[in-house]
């Protein structure tokens, strides 16, 4: 089993790599589109702006390589911005087209609904999880979030929900593709367990 951690110039990957080391799984950071296919599973992490990220993915052909990898049937998990990029579009700083691997969109937290809750949503929040192999042995965990935008999609894809003033989608699954809004690599034992479950899929 060899995990590829996709590097598209959007932030720190050392923690993701450290987390796989900690659970005893071989992982490597990969930024070459031609090499994605050499891995058994991919982690697609990232923090930062949606538009910049898509631009970088297009410039490096990683966008097409990601889509090819998904078609091959091998497992992928998008984390934080990486989850959001799997969807069709985002309204972050204008309208941006995403990878379109899962139907749905990315929207800003509705500030008008916030009463005392701050944006960005930063900190530990409970995720209410569906029965899914990703959550084996993890019971509605507290996980670490850092984001100002969230996904809106059909409920058939939703495997995790979180309440921050209102309920939003915090984890999704479509066939061999997972999306995960919080940072498992920063979510202590619960996060490491979820990564272990991903390795076992």
């Amino acid at each position: 089993m060899k995990i590829g951690i996709v590097d598209y110039n959007m932030g720190n990957l050392a923690s993701v790599n450290n987390a796989f080391k900690k659970i005893g799984t071989e992982a490597e950071i990969v930024n070459d589109a031609d090499k994605l296919k050499n891995y058994d599973k991919l982690v697609f992490p990232g923090v930062g702006a949606f538009g910049d990220a898509m631009e970088h993915l297009r410039e490096t052909n990683l966008d097409e390589a990601m889509k090819e990898f998904v078609k091959s049937g091998k497992y992928v998990i998008g984390v934080c911005l990486g989850m959001q990029l799997l969807f069709e579009s985002s309204e972050e700083f204008g309208k941006h087209k995403g990878l379109g691997i899962i139907e749905g969109n990315v929207v800003k937290f509705d500030k008008n609904k916030m009463q005392g809750h701050k944006i960005p949503h930063m900190g530990w929040n409970k995720m209410f999880v569906k029965n899914d192999a990703l959550f084996e042995g993890v019971n509605d965990p507290y996980l670490y979030f850092v984001h100002s935008y969230h996904v809106v999609c059909d409920k058939k894809y939703i495997i995790g929900k979180t309440i921050y003033e209102y309920e939003f989608v915090s984890a999704v699954n479509k066939d061999n593709v997972y999306g995960f809004q919080p940072h498992p690599e920063k979510s202590h034992n619960a996060g490491l367990k979820i990564l272990e479950n991903f390795v076992k899929l």
């Binding site: 050392a14 450290n18 987390a19 080391k21 809750h117 960005p120 920063k186």
Partner: protein
Amino acid sequence: MEYFAKRIIPCLDVKDGRVVKGVNFVGLRDAGDPVEAAIRYNEEGADELTFLDITASHEGRKPIVDIVKEVAKEVFIPLTVGGGISELSDIYDLLNVGCDKVSINSAAVKNPDFINKSSKRFGSQCIVVAIDVKKIAPNKWHVFIKGGREDTGLDAIEWAKEVVDRGAGEILLTSMDTDGTKAGFDIEITEIISKLVHVPVIASGGAGKMEHFKEVFEHSADAALAASIFHFKEIDIMDLKQYLHKNNISVRIN
């Protein structure tokens, strides 16, 4: 029911590669190895760790990249580093080894544009602006820098607004009046600033008892930071979380 947790953040004040804690920022005593301390806090249920290289800024040294690199191999909760950060390359070096956020203090005051530049480059979510405040008159606080050695003359409330406008994603607010006293957080200024800005505010300085955490969380703090009481095991983090949970404050107890 609130499912979003208030955060408990142990702070490791680091000097010459060792953890120290001063009273009112002077009179340091050695208290251990930073990597070991970080691992202990991680196991005990800390929600996040902050490392402050307390002598870096006035001695003009660079941050503690090597320590963070070692900690990030064993500790899987958010890590914040402050002290001596004045260039984008300092931030890059830290994020690259597994640090999640950096705390900027003196450099933000001297060159406020650095907040804009760094948040634009790395995202607001990883730019914490540390503000050390001292009450100078009724309802009037000034911003201090260099570990409390220098009064900048800046009004703390105005400065808090400005740093958020410039892109800070969080404020670490330390009261020089309560720091090291163990008499409780500075509720007054914490509540004023926390209610004013739309980013999280971490209260710091003065924690001595569990009640102090309850009090500051009830007065709008999003997170609370303390050093010596955790470091010398005067308060156990899990005991503190159980206490807060019983008092209807949402905390992470997995």
